[in-house]
Structures are given as structure tokens and as C-alpha cells.
Symmetry: D2
Subunit: 493 residues, 4 copies
Amino acid sequence: MALITSKEYLESVKKLKPRVYVGGKWITGLLDNPVTKSMVMANAAIYDLAQMPEHQGVMVAKSHLTGEPINRNLNVATNIHDLDMRQEMALLTSQTVGTCNYRCVGCDALNALASTTWEMDQALGTKYNERFKNWLKMAQSKDLAVSGAITDAKGDRRKRPTQQDEQDVYLHLVEKRDDGIVVRGYKVSQSGAIGAHETLVLPGGGLKDDEGAFALSFAVPNGSPGLTYICQYNAYSAEREYFGDEIEEIGNPIYGQRETSTMVFDNVFIPWERVFMCGETKYAGRLVTRFAKAHRMNCGGACKVGFADVIIGGTMLAAEYIGVEKVPHIQEKIIDMVRLSETSHACAIAAAMRGREEPKGSGVFLPDDLFGNAAKLNIAHGFWEIIKNAGDIGGGLVVTMPRLKDLKDPEVGPTLKKVFGAAAPAEKRLKVAKFLQHWAAGLHGAGTWHGAGAPQTQRFMFTVLTDFDKKKKMAKKLMGMEEDEAPKAAAKK
Amino acid sequence: MALITSKEYLESVKKLKPRVYVGGKWITGLLDNPVTKSMVMANAAIYDLAQMPEHQGVMVAKSHLTGEPINRNLNVATNIHDLDMRQEMALLTSQTVGTCNYRCVGCDALNALASTTWEMDQALGTKYNERFKNWLKMAQSKDLAVSGAITDAKGDRRKRPTQQDEQDVYLHLVEKRDDGIVVRGYKVSQSGAIGAHETLVLPGGGLKDDEGAFALSFAVPNGSPGLTYICQYNAYSAEREYFGDEIEEIGNPIYGQRETSTMVFDNVFIPWERVFMCGETKYAGRLVTRFAKAHRMNCGGACKVGFADVIIGGTMLAAEYIGVEKVPHIQEKIIDMVRLSETSHACAIAAAMRGREEPKGSGVFLPDDLFGNAAKLNIAHGFWEIIKNAGDIGGGLVVTMPRLKDLKDPEVGPTLKKVFGAAAPAEKRLKVAKFLQHWAAGLHGAGTWHGAGAPQTQRFMFTVLTDFDKKKKMAKKLMGMEEDEAPKAAAKK
Amino acid sequence: MALITSKEYLESVKKLKPRVYVGGKWITGLLDNPVTKSMVMANAAIYDLAQMPEHQGVMVAKSHLTGEPINRNLNVATNIHDLDMRQEMALLTSQTVGTCNYRCVGCDALNALASTTWEMDQALGTKYNERFKNWLKMAQSKDLAVSGAITDAKGDRRKRPTQQDEQDVYLHLVEKRDDGIVVRGYKVSQSGAIGAHETLVLPGGGLKDDEGAFALSFAVPNGSPGLTYICQYNAYSAEREYFGDEIEEIGNPIYGQRETSTMVFDNVFIPWERVFMCGETKYAGRLVTRFAKAHRMNCGGACKVGFADVIIGGTMLAAEYIGVEKVPHIQEKIIDMVRLSETSHACAIAAAMRGREEPKGSGVFLPDDLFGNAAKLNIAHGFWEIIKNAGDIGGGLVVTMPRLKDLKDPEVGPTLKKVFGAAAPAEKRLKVAKFLQHWAAGLHGAGTWHGAGAPQTQRFMFTVLTDFDKKKKMAKKLMGMEEDEAPKAAAKK
Amino acid sequence: MALITSKEYLESVKKLKPRVYVGGKWITGLLDNPVTKSMVMANAAIYDLAQMPEHQGVMVAKSHLTGEPINRNLNVATNIHDLDMRQEMALLTSQTVGTCNYRCVGCDALNALASTTWEMDQALGTKYNERFKNWLKMAQSKDLAVSGAITDAKGDRRKRPTQQDEQDVYLHLVEKRDDGIVVRGYKVSQSGAIGAHETLVLPGGGLKDDEGAFALSFAVPNGSPGLTYICQYNAYSAEREYFGDEIEEIGNPIYGQRETSTMVFDNVFIPWERVFMCGETKYAGRLVTRFAKAHRMNCGGACKVGFADVIIGGTMLAAEYIGVEKVPHIQEKIIDMVRLSETSHACAIAAAMRGREEPKGSGVFLPDDLFGNAAKLNIAHGFWEIIKNAGDIGGGLVVTMPRLKDLKDPEVGPTLKKVFGAAAPAEKRLKVAKFLQHWAAGLHGAGTWHGAGAPQTQRFMFTVLTDFDKKKKMAKKLMGMEEDEAPKAAAKK
């Protein structure tokens, strides 16, 4: 059966033995540490969604390989509708967990691979596509959680991979063997890799001819020998450890902030049947670009829109709880929050609707780049506006509140209830203030910049993707300006 | 044959005898005055587009009444694809004429009427829909240019229509007769009414029960007795008169700025077969809302995007002509212009794609409101950013340039050619500066605010259309906050 | 001697016995808890500044009461230069501690009191000014740290103080006695009250005639019977507890985030010589407005500018450490950060320079309101732009980094050094990423909205303070439009 | 007598015999052409202001050369107060004429010359300063209108002056003679040169060693042999010609839009006593930078603020005339208009207040650069926001209105009065709509970008002027990060 329950997922997680370091400790199990547990619980909630009848249309797809129902996180889009449901899934999962769908990057990676391995095989006579399809069938049949790893550590940005003092800052090939390859290096900012059954690894960007050692793509199982995850640690990690099981004290109690890690590949062996690119530098940029194309639509135009939805909801509650929800300037700010998020959602829908088969014959559909980049770029800025407004309407309380449990303290609790009671009881006001603190004083602002690539990469894509010649011609025609003589003369000959 | 040529249109215009006042003069014919002529030429260009093989998909539709090919400006959308092509038409026409498709408002008005007359007939047993369909068949068969009239003069905004000192500031019923009705009042800011064969008149907004005299919709032919058009007049009108036939001296030489007029109805008689609403106040707001829904998608997310395209094209040329097109900050500004316009286009596409039949059973498809309002609201602000950047990159020349023909002056011409020569000859630089002047120091900035309704009306719609309860519930669920007890208790019983 | 050293301040703090609750614990001493200690250390640093020869001009003033040199935090401005140095002090302290000068609110409060008590005495024959001057002389002679308490808990915002279900949400009079008054209620979001020797209490806003019980102003010593401080607690509090003495692991190691508390007045007795307003409702609004006038200049146009300076500095370092500091788009973003902060600083300077004696005869100088409000309003928005850019340039690392001390871990440390080494060693990159995390994912964004009042209050002041009649007259004169006839006729008589 | 009346100025203008070309015609006298007349009338109004007792403080200064009262437009600032009054003058003149004070550029040019000629003489032993002072005494004694010419035609922006195909695109030296120099070339976008008695010419930017021919500064009298002015011509020029003497039909009836011309120097002879730089390339950049420093404060932070004042006034009237001035969103937009303009004014005040003697010993005071650049950059963007809001609140009428005089037309007038009557008579509504059209669909938006240099030049100055090292040090100190070892080691030696 290709769709597993959250319970089955949690069982499977207990069997994983990744080497995970969090804040000075090596974890014994992903569910034993409050930080790593929050990440796993978010994954579990995504499995749950696929079981709910009302979400089947969004969460469940039909495998183009087997015809079986599969979790959309493992689906290769083969038409416009698939693309549309893909971005709707990103919206739904964000509305549901208020953090990453940690299978999201993996999903976009496998679409990029489906397209590019097909293209490589066509052009080079390789067998990557077949391998990839076999791997995908396996993943679909077990409903695996798959994460995606793209971002290299990158070192000094002025230098190419081969010029770095420290070679490992880009993941690279160490050895080619009969049975597979050995790789080493670092992938940073890896969302949810620790709780995924597998990770799809892609190159971090376009490559030049002499950079073949970095043109690598493969699937690596969690717990592979030589693979270590060193987790992020920040104030919100400390807070979660501080409260331990009292998760109701946390802004996003169950699912938490976005948890990432650095994946350290220390001579990890990958058998050939899991290798989907090895040295084909010409296709590295193409593979990453296709990933980005998919991911910007989803990350920018849907995932963050789902975050915005819950932030808007929380902000409305904060306004109601002090009795100001009808004040004109409050309403104007709420309107802006809605406008900004719906605008990015529109970009995602347009990206899906103007999607197309790429490359022709592959059967794989990818979203339109221009609208996908617009989605990401708009929300990169818009999200800060949204949390800014949440911080405005939420009030100083958002950052000056005591602990929620202080309300239950026998000494100060009764007083605090009086202090913070308003149009709603103090418990509600502080609860929603804590929720808004999670967003307006949390990790997602800065995180939004960089998920799916820094904003400048999206800006750059506008230069690449816009047909400026067409626009110039239209302007010239309107002006009654003749096309340049030179080309005309040339044409005469 | 249901598609006429621009030549046939121009012939038909010569037969029109509207009573038109422009800048102190009563025109003898629409083609005899340089201002009114520019408006007519824009219409002619739209007729041309429908004849071009490459634009058939966008410009030509199949009549849902007769199955015949018709100009899309006369089409009632009966599916998603129709909505999508409708907004693509708005894009194409703006790219082509750089001013109004003057049949645009009429097109959106007839879609609103197709939907609302059907609904009235269903509920009230009236015959409006049949009348409307007969009129539409006639219009389609002759490929008429139809404008739409919505905006009343409105007088004192603090007062309802019945409270105004001057009743005529809202178009109203004077008399009901056996053969028809007599109406009087003013519709202002009417784009292209002077050159349309017919105008569809709608109420200006929602109405209360006692405001039946204002709940009027009908089709009125150009040149109807009692109907007068008093045209706008501004610096750009003066400039066109100044240059007369030398239209190449004008920023948008053939099609000009957007030309509007005040339509004065002085006891105009409308036979019953052309009346589509008369007193049904309950449906007035609905009719206008449906019009707005269609128009905001088109006006905001496509028409202005087409303007942006030619402005971007012109701005790129201006940069190239002085050799700065590769300077980073110039490129960044161009990127912003593209981002802003494509974002609004995405909103239009999303509005079309999330369109739906309204009301159920009518067969009429209308775009999604939220995305349509987002399209308009984004471009209302974005368009100013776009012309601001055009003014920045275009340079001081945009407002300090001499006449284009001064370049040909025997005395100053040779000097001016040297003064303004750069990476391109002075002729090109000044030509494109004049083009940008048309936009950055012209009427379209302020015009963009108010076409399809002032921005505040779109903002208000976000409040109406957003499902805030859903968002609040999602936030509460994430927080682990219980739904309010009261409803629960109620549910128990 | 009127200027004490930081050492003397720290000694004096050890003698304080406030009743302080932080995250479930009652502290034994302000220096014994890492959270409260950070606040005290910030105060100590401000005392240090006043000892440094290079900062005498800014930090030291001459008492208008005694002629003695005093810390500027205790100075009443009696001329333009004082106002200018006052805002420069706010800049300098923020640059130095990267958090509140916790004596800042107290300083602005005492200026408002100097002005308003003088005015009350003139009009009402009261003795408030004399009392206040006596108290101030004492405070100046001991160089006391004085905080200011304005913001009431406020409860339901739709209700006036007397209408609240819970009276204590506004601080109010309980009893007038021969020797003084008894007060109760809550002041929330009190920056640095726990570490101040005294707190100046002001009403929270304007009051109506029947709200005399809330028209209260007085000085209350730290540790007064009945006075309790319940501290804020958030992720950053947990992080500080987590790291304890390892403060180098914290974003702002010594001085931390801004620490606030709720001050609970449970029938606190205030002797008459410390009471500066008691029932004079008419002057309550004036007192608060004068406080706001001073505080908006300092908080908006100088304090946050100092924050911006260190954020810009940190962001430049982050860019250098990966080798991108010369990339054009990075430079453009830095430029915007500078522009935004310097713009607000300009508003503060203008506010000081256009300051004036208020009321006439009082000898007290207050800044110009319009420019002060502009300072605050601009930075309220600008600060989010600044931290947004810091998050952009800082990179994903800002939120995905591990602990700093993980670099020293024998197992993962060597690897992490390789992972994060770039154009600078990993230690430096992570150190500055941690610093930017403190800002871009910290409390100051939301805090900036509400310090010196929510932005809407500043917006409202523009309506109050702008001379619209003058502007209308200027426009009319330019247009050649006559002034309205009515006034003219009236003038004739 | 050093202060002349507007009447005396107008008399003097009649004696000028400049060679001026406007829209195909050579003018016979500046007062004979409606376009050139509007420019002269603006100058006359500035002369009037200096005669009004209430404006003496702003408009009249004391000559630092003679001690006599002079028009501030001819004053060299020798202290902070002078700088402050200088920017206040820019505010006042804009509020009064709603267009250029055409003596403004000349004023800033003479301050830059006072500073730089002094410096050159000190360093090089030249006599420029003495010559300049003699010329200035003469100008002050006759109260001359002096314009300033900086912007060269510039040709291909990728090439230096010497590399241009057409040498004349930069003004340059043709011949050095015993009695003076001969110059040729073009200065473009010259505001008010046609109506000035003299023009101070400066180089257009910094120069390299081999560009001595372009390092020129001198004073040239109106009507000099070889000097021709070719005026701008646009829709607003056409409109003014169209209405001729009926100036009340124009948006800014008397003073009009900003009028500029290209100054063509065709081997113009300048005697040595009027030459203030000739070949000293090293000082060219300095001279221009000092000019810019002064001009950005005035142009950005005061002139455009005065425009904003009358636009805000007009916008308020427009709102009142239809009865919406109390609607919350209207008020919010007005608030933003005020905030934006007052913010730039604050920057000007700060620039004046932080001004300083430059170079030391010269006695000449120049404003602070950073705040001056902030003033200009903020208003460059803010002004578009302001006219955008004027266009929003002004309504569609701003661009769809008929001629004002159509209200008096016997046929359509009575109807139009009814159409456009609201909370005020149609006459008032249309008058103010015309006024707003002048701004929101006029030349000042694009003009604002480029006056005092394109915005990018101001952005660039932030990079130059900001002490980034100081900011980095402050950040490092806060972080507890050590200064780099290398410098430390160096310090040891």
C-alpha cells in the first residue's frame, strides 16, 4: 500500500539510526530530543493530511510510473493540474504545520531529476533515468519521506569550487568504484534531512567543464555510514529544551520553528543504482534551474502564503482580544497582509497554469519560471511586511510577555490574569502573543529570504527570462520608429 | 460576416453623428478633429488585430448564442479558457495601442449583464435576459464597438443619490412609457464612448430599496437624440491640436492619451427592447460587482501590464541610446519594472484560472474576485513605480527636451543633433524621450488609480472576500487553542 | 560628587532589594540571574560612558538647579544645545550597548515633569514643581538610575479607565492620606525598572474630568513595599539561562536583548514630597504629550539609529567574511540601510534644532513634535527594512547556524571550522551571524514598533500638528482662487 | 541699493536681448512669449518676497563682502544660520511660486565657487578668489538674477569627454587669449537661464589630469555674443500657447511648469576677470561636489517640500469639495504626504545644522553631505508618492476634466456646472483638479529625479560618506570580537 499513516511513519523513524548532533549532544533517537522531535512531528502531520478525505485531491496523486495512488510529495508532475495541486499542497501543509513540509525540497528535486535524467539519457545514452525511475518506484511504494540537499557550504564566494582552500565546502567525488562512488563535502541549511528516510542530493549550481567532480546527484539513505548531521541551535532551540515536554508553552507548540542541519559527507559510498548524475557538468546548471523553477513557485507562492494565513488569523485574534478589530487603521493593515500573501499565491497559480513540458518528450511538467520567480521575490519582501504588521497589531506584549505558565503560578498568576485580561481572558491574549512572537521575533523572516535561493538570484532570473527585444519592438512600433537600418541592410544581401 | 475590418469600422464611424464638444468646438466628424481621431484610430487598430492570423486565438471567440466567430470584445465567457483569453486580449491591445482598448469596459459590462439578467429573470420572471441576448446577437452580427458607462457624476459624496441637490448627478429614470423609458443624468470619465456604436449603461453602484429610479441598465446607440458628449481637455489635447497632422511629434503618435468624455443624457428615450434593468435595486449592486470583478482582472492585471511592456521597452532603448544599459543599478530598476508588471499579470491569470460560473446555471463565467482585486490594487501602485523608473532612466531629457521637429529646423537643427547625439543619433534619443514623456509626465499615472474603481474600493473588497474565520481557526489549531466554549455547549444540546 | 562610576553603580545595585520574578523564580539579587544581570550591565556601561573624556560633551550636562556637572540622563534641557546633545546621547548609548539605555525613559519623563509641574503651579498654585526640583536635586546629587513608567495595562481598548471590569489595569489612586497617597495598578513593558534606583511614574494618556483617580505622577524607589516586578520571558531569556556564564555564546553577549517587566503596584505608599500630580486631569494629557515629544525624538531618531549603526557594521562584516562586500546589489542594500537610519537621525536633529521653550517662562526646552514624530514613524518602518537587509546579506546562516561553542567541540568542531570557513575563519563568520540573528530574528523589530508609542499614534499627531489651513491658502493663492466670500464679508463689518 | 523690486527686475528683463528659440520661434522679448514670460514672472515673485517685511529674515542676508543687505540668492553662507535660512528660502519660494526659484542653482554655485576659488588661490597662488569676489560684489550691488549651469550634454556615457565623437557635448576651452578665453559646447536642462542676468558656469563633474580643457568656470552675461538658448517644448508648452493670455486656465497660472533650455556656447568670449577656473582639473570635482552638497539640501529638502505643501493643500481642498476629507483612508494618505515631505525637510535642517566651514579658513560654510544627500534621495522617491496620492484623492477628474472655461460656455457651461458641482461649486472643483493635474500628470515627477543629480549619484555618496570602519568597530566591540591581529602586531613594533 503506497500511502502510510503517521503512525507507520513514526514507527519507521524509531528504526532510523542517524548520527545527529544537537547543541552539544548526540541524540539517541529523533523522538527523544525535543528539537528533533518537533521536526518529526511536522512530517507526521503531513502523512496525516494524505489520509483525510477532504484533502485527497491535493495530497494524493496517481503515480505516472505505476498508476497507483501516491503521496503528492513523491509525484512527478505530468500536466498542469499536477502543478496546480503541487502548489496547493504547499499552501495546505504550511497552514497545517506552520513550518516546513520537510518533504517539499525532495519533491521538487525529484521533478527536476525526472526531467534532467531523461534528457541526459536521450543525449548521452546514459541510464540515469531508468535508475531514477526504479528508485522512485521504491520510494513511492514505501511512501518514504525524502528531503533534498542542494546548498553547498560554498566557502569564499569569490572562488570557484576548485579554487577553494578547503575542497569539502562543495560536495565532490572522491572515488569512482565498480559498485558505486565515494563522495565527501558539506551541504548546509538542510531542512528536515534528519527525519527523512532518504535525501536526494543535487549540485549546488551551474558548473564549468573542469568541475566534473562536483556534478553529482544521488539518493542517500538516512543513517548511511560516514553521514553526520550537525543541527542548528539558536534561542528557539534553547527555549524548546527549557520547556521540554511542556510544549504548550511554545509559540508553535508541536511543530516548532524550521529545523535544519549541516550534512557532513565523510567519504560516503553511493552504489551506482542510486547515482543520477556523475560528471555531466553541462547538465548540472539545468538540473538546479529546474529544481529552482519548481521550488520558487512552491516555496514563495504557496508555503509562505500558508504561513501568512495563520499569521493573519493570529493577528486578527490579537486585535479582537483587546477590542480593536474594527478600528480603520487596523483593518487597513490586515488588508495589506492579505493583499501581499494573495498576490504571491496568484504568482504560484500563474506559474502552474503557464507550466509546460520540459524538455519536450520527457512527459515532465515544470512551472513557468517568470511567475515562479515573481512568487518568491514578492513574498521575500512581503513576508517581512506581514510579520511587521503582526508585530504592530500584536502590540508590545509580543515581545514583553512573561511565560504562559506564569499565569498558573500561585503567586504571580492571579495578578498576571488581571494585568493581561482585556476583551478576552489573559490566557488567550498571551497565547496568541506567544504565537505572534514565534513569527515576528523568530527565524522565519530571515529564513524566507534564503529558502529557494537568495532574492538576488530571483532578480537575476528576470533579466534572463524577459524578452526585452519584444518589448523594445512594441515600443518602437508604437512610436513609429523604424527598426535599425543595419539589420535591414544585412537582410538585403 | 461577424468580424469587420478596420476599414469597415472607419466607414461606419463616418456615418455616426454624435453631438461632441471638444475644447470649445462642436466637431463635424470624429475623424476631423485630431483628438477624437486618435480615439477612433485606436479602435480601428483593435479591429485589425482580430484579422491577424497570429492573434486569432486571443481576439476571436465563438459566440455562445450563435456559434459564429465573433470579436472577443463581444464575447460572453462560458469557461475558464474564455476568461484567460479575455485578459490576454487586454494585454495584447495595450501592447498594440498603448492606450485604451475602448471596447474593454463594454465587454465587461455585457458579461455582467449576461449573468445578472439571467438571474433576474429566474427570480423575478422578467424578460431582461432574452432582450439582452437579442441585442447582443445584433451587436455580434455587426461586430459593433460597444463602450460601457458606469461612473455617475456623484456630486456630494456624503449624500445618497436621492439626497443630492442636483438630481442629475446620478443617471435616473424620468418617465416610464409604453414603448420605453426616458432617462437623464450624467456619466463621467467615459472612455471611448464617442467612437462606439453603442454604449451599455449600468448603475454606478449598489442601491437601496427607495432608489429604484437609479437602478437602470440599457443599451444606447451613438447619436441618440438628447445625448451629448463633452470631452476632456488638457495639456495633451492642446499639444495634439498644436501639432495637428504632424502626429509623429506626439509621444504616442497615432493612438494618443486616453480620451474620455462626460455623457449628458437629456431625457433620452430608450425603447424597452434595449432596457435590461429598470427599478430592480436589489440587483444593481450585484450587476456592478460582477462588472468590477471582470474589469479589475482586465484593467489591472493585463491592460496596464501591456502599457508596462511598452514603457519597459522604451526605457531599455533610452538606456541603450546613452550607453548605460549594462550598468547594475539600471538593470536593477528594469528588473523592478518587470517584476511589478508580471506580478499583476500573474494576478490576472490566477483570477481567470480560479474563475467560476456565476450564478450557477447561468452559463456565464466570471473571474475570481480576490485575485482580480489584487491585480488592480498592485498595478495601481506598481504603475507609478514603473513610470517613476522610466523617468529616472529616461533622464532629465524626458521633460526638458525640445520639439522633435526642432531637429529639422535649419537654424537650430544641426546643433540639436550634436547636443543630443550619444550612443545613438539625437533623433532616436529624442523620439524615445518623447515616448517616455507621454507616460512619465502624462495622464496614465492618475488614470490608473481610477480605472476599474479607486484603489480603496479594491482594498475594501479584501475585507469582504477574505475568509477570516478560516484563518483564525487555522491559527487556533496550530496554537492548540480550543474553539470558544459557547458554541461547543450549544452543539451538545 | 554628582557623577558616579559604573563600579559605584554596581555596588549600589547589590544593595537594592526589589521583588523580581523571572521565569518562575524570585531572584535573590539582580546580578545573580543572567537575564537581570544583562540589564544591569547595560546601565553600568552608560555610567562608564560619562567617565570617558571623549564623551563628556554628550554625556555630561550642567544642572540647571545647581550648576554642577551631572549625567545627561538627569538633565532638564534648557536650550537647543541640550536637546541636541540629548539625542546624541541616545545615539551613543545605543551604539555602545546595542540595547536600551534604561535611563532614557526616565530622562524624558523628568523633562516633561519639569515643564508641566511648573505650568500647574503657575495656574493652580500647587507646589509640584518645587517638590519635583527637590527630588531631582537629590537624584542628580546621587547620579541615580531613574526609569520611567507610562504604559498602563489598559485592558479592553474600547473602554475608558473607569469602565474597565478590572480597575487595576490603569494605575490609580486608592487613598489620599496626610502623609501621602496609596496607589495600585499595573504598568507594563517597563524597560529597566528592575535595575533603576527610582522610577518616575506618569499617567498613560489624556484623561477626562471624571478620571481624576488616574491623574497621577510620582517617584517611587526600587524596593518599595508593595511593588513587584514580573519580568518578560521568551526564547532569548531561555537562551541566556541555557548558556549561563558563557555569555560569549549570545548575540549581544554582555547587554542582551531589551529586558522589561510588569510593575505591579499593590497599594504602594508614596509620600507627598514625591507626588508630582494627583488629580489634575487637565494636565495629564499635556504631561504625556510632552514626554512623547521628547521620547519620540530620542527613541526614534537616535536610539534606533545607533542600533542600525551596529547592524550595518555587522552586516558589512558578514559580507566581507564571505567575500561579497563589493558586489553591486550588496552595496545597494547597505546604502539603503544607511539612508534609512540617517534619515531618522536627521529628523531627530531637526526636532532638537526646532525645539522651543514650553510653556513660555518655564525655562524647559522640548523638541519639535512634527519632526520627532517623523523620526519615530520613519524608523518604525525603516528598522524592519534594516533587519530585513541584515537577514538578506547575512545569509541563511543567520538562522541555521549551530552554537558558537560547537566550533570547539572535539568531535564536530574541526569539521564545522571547515564547513563555515570562507574569506574569514568560521569563528568570525559564526560570531557575526550570531550577532545578526540577535537582530534579524530577535525582539527589536516588534519592540521598535511600540517604544515611544505605536506608529498609529505618531500618524495621528501629523493630523494634529500640521497647519492644513496654511497649505490650503498657499494652494489657493497659486491657483488664483479667491478665499471664501463668507470670511471676507465678515471682515467688512 | 542692493535690493531691487520686481518692477525693476521686469524693467531690466526688457533690456535683455538673449537669442532664445522656443518651439520653432525666435522670441522678440522674454515677456512677449507666454512660455518664457511664466519663467520671468516666477523670478519677479522672488524679488517681491525679499521686499516683504515678514520674509526679511529668510530672504535678506548681510553680504560678507560689504556688510550690505543683499538678496539671499546672492549670499555666501558664513555660518550655520545662513545655511538654515538658505534652505528655508528654498521652501518659501517653492510655496510661493510652485515652480523653480530660478536663482537657486546660481546661489549654490556661487557658494561652491567662494569655497573652491579660495582653496585654489591658497594652494596654487592663483587670483580666482579675488576675481570671483569682485564679480560677486557687482552682482550683489545690482541684485542680479544669476542662474547656474552645470550639466553638460554628455553624449555617450561610456566615454570620457575627450573620447566623444562630438567634442561639444562637454563645454570646453577653445582658445586662451591675453584678454580672456573662448569656450564652446552645450549645457542642457538649464532652469531659468533665459531670464537671468548672468549665468555661473561650472564643470559637469570630476576630471582627470588630461581633461584640462573641460576644467572651466566663469560668469557669462545673458545676451553674450555666440550664446543661444534653445528651449524645451512639451504638452504644457503647447497648452500655454493655446491659452495665451487666458492664464487662469492653466494649472499653475502665473508661474507655470519649470522652464529650461539648452545653452549653446558657440565660441563665446569670456574676459579673464570673469574666469574662476581654467584648467585646474584637480579642483573640478571638488567644485562640483561642493555645489551638489549645497544644492541637494535645498533642492531635495526644501524646494520639493514647498511643492509638497501646495500639493497637500490642493489635495485637501479636492477632498473637501466632494465631502470626503474626514474619511479615514483619505486622512491616512494625507498623513503620508505630510510625513514624506516633512522628513525631507528634516534632512535639510539637519544638513544645515551639521554644516561646517569648508575648507578650513575659507570662511565659507557648506551643509553636511550625508543629510543633504538623504534629503534629495528621500524626496526623489517621496515626491512620486505625494503626486500619486494627489492623483488618488483628486479622482479621475484630475485627468478627465474639460477646460475650465467650458464652464462659461453658453451651451455646455450650465450643464457642466451641474455635472461637477458637489460639496463645492463646479468652478472650485475643476480649478483644483486642474491644479492637481499640473502636478500629478505634469513635468515635476520626472524633473524631481534629476534636479541636483540623478538619485544614483546620491546613493553613491552614501557609500563615500559613511564611516563603515567605525560601524564595524562598534559591532565588533559589542560582539566582543577582537580587532584583527595583523594591525595589532604592527602596533607592537
